[in-house]
Symmetry: C2
Subunit: 243 residues, 2 copies
């Protein structure tokens, strides 16, 4: 039985990985991932074999991991954030159907929602949704329906992949949809380059967010009706009395 | 300027904490938290001063942390999972308004959604919602509206606090609401005692989940229309082709 760890390495800084993630990489012969993330960890695991595939080659990357494991190697497949949140864990199980002799172990990590929330203050204290604005693998109509449902039910919403070269106006579209049910004064926040060089956070209203240009390294947070700004932090109360 | 770290210690096992969380506790004079969580970390941080308050004394716990910091101590306020997900980070900012001389730093951790997902397989790969079924601080009508919205928009749903002594039938009620829009055959999962002794995971249908009795140490996952069972794991595909 060969073994593949599917590992969430967190937002990027070494000290935001869990001990379990570090141990699994130390136990591995090969570390495989998208080029950018492999570059982030390379210096901490000298002597390992590193293999990368570019973006959009996700299926190839999974096959590569299973083929290396088949040779008898212990393999780490690494993902930024958490491997189970828009990460490779699902695809690894799907591709793994063809490799019944390989055991998978998923090792969770800090995802951009919780990593970014910690920088902004405490936006996710109450019920929230994660929605990716990328329509590469999901029809935009489905994304739209989810944005509207989340806004109508007064969820805090965290947006992944809010922008890209081809999707520069998607955040604007999402904010317009949200404003059908959320006040334009709803407190929002953006965090870029979480736990990496150039980390930057901003707190603003939904109306201001609509006219903000973000990049693909930004995670966006849209408050619920109770979310407030306290000393430039974005804070969602849970409802304790006597505060 | 005194300092309080508000720390998510993850699901419970020492090696599921981040390096940053461990460093912050090592740098602290006092570690404060709910009794059960302080007991989980005590042995790893000898020589620290430990202080606890029981459940339902959350505001007192925050005041205690700020008062200790006022004496010049560096303080860690610890929470299970992530401090920003139904955790103490929000309340600390609210209470902190009265202690402007104290700086807060939030340190994220692995929350039950991602920790539990890793045990079950890969249920959260696509857009998902976190909903707490506890109506101690939230009106049940609001929880109900969120359950229905999440089901209607085909989110994967992760339920926190699915049960307690007083709320033994809430999961059943939640499943009945979900079945207005989700098929009774929707793949679901439960995980108890994530990363602790007695960890247990089960994959089942929504109809079966409805008639399952869970306890307060269980996290519940309800799939979207695409979620499937692969070798007894709960897997939500993201939509990659040629799989």
């Amino acid at each position: 039985m060969s073994k593949i760890y599917v590992i969430g390495i967190g937002p990027g800084a070494y000290d935001q990985m869990t001990g379990k993630a570090i141990r699994a990489m130390n136990e591995s012969d090969a570390i495989i991932g998208y080029t950018v993330y492999v570059d982030l960890v390379k210096e901490y695991f000298p002597g390992k074999e590193f293999m990368t595939t570019p973006m959009k080659k996700e299926v190839d990357r999974c096959v590569l991991a299973f083929e290396e494991a088949k040779k008898g190697k212990t393999v780490s497949m690494i993902c930024s954030g958490d491997a189970g949140v828009y990460g490779m864990a699902g695809l690894m199980y799907e591709v793994g159907v063809n490799y019944p002799e390989t055991e998978l172990e998923i090792i969770p990590g800090v995802t951009a929602a919780t990593g970014g929330a910690a920088v902004l203050g405490a936006p996710l204290i109450h019920d929230f949704c994660l929605i990716s604005l990328s329509d590469l693998l999901t029809p935009w109509e489905k994304i739209e329906a989810r944005l509207l449902a989340a806004a109508q039910a007064d969820f805090v919403v965290c947006l992944y992949n809010p922008s890209s070269k081809k999707r520069h106006d998607y955040l604007q579209k999402a904010c317009d949809l949200m404003m059908k049910y959320k006040s334009p004064d709803t407190i929002c926040g953006t965090v870029s380059n979480i736990a990496r060089e150039g980390e930057e956070a901003h707190v603003m209203t939904l109306k201001e967010l609509r006219d903000t240009q973000v990049d693909m390294f930004t995670t966006v947070f849209i408050g619920n009706s109770q979310t407030k700004e306290i000393n430039n932090k974005m804070v969602t109360p849970r409802g304790y009395r006597n505060v």
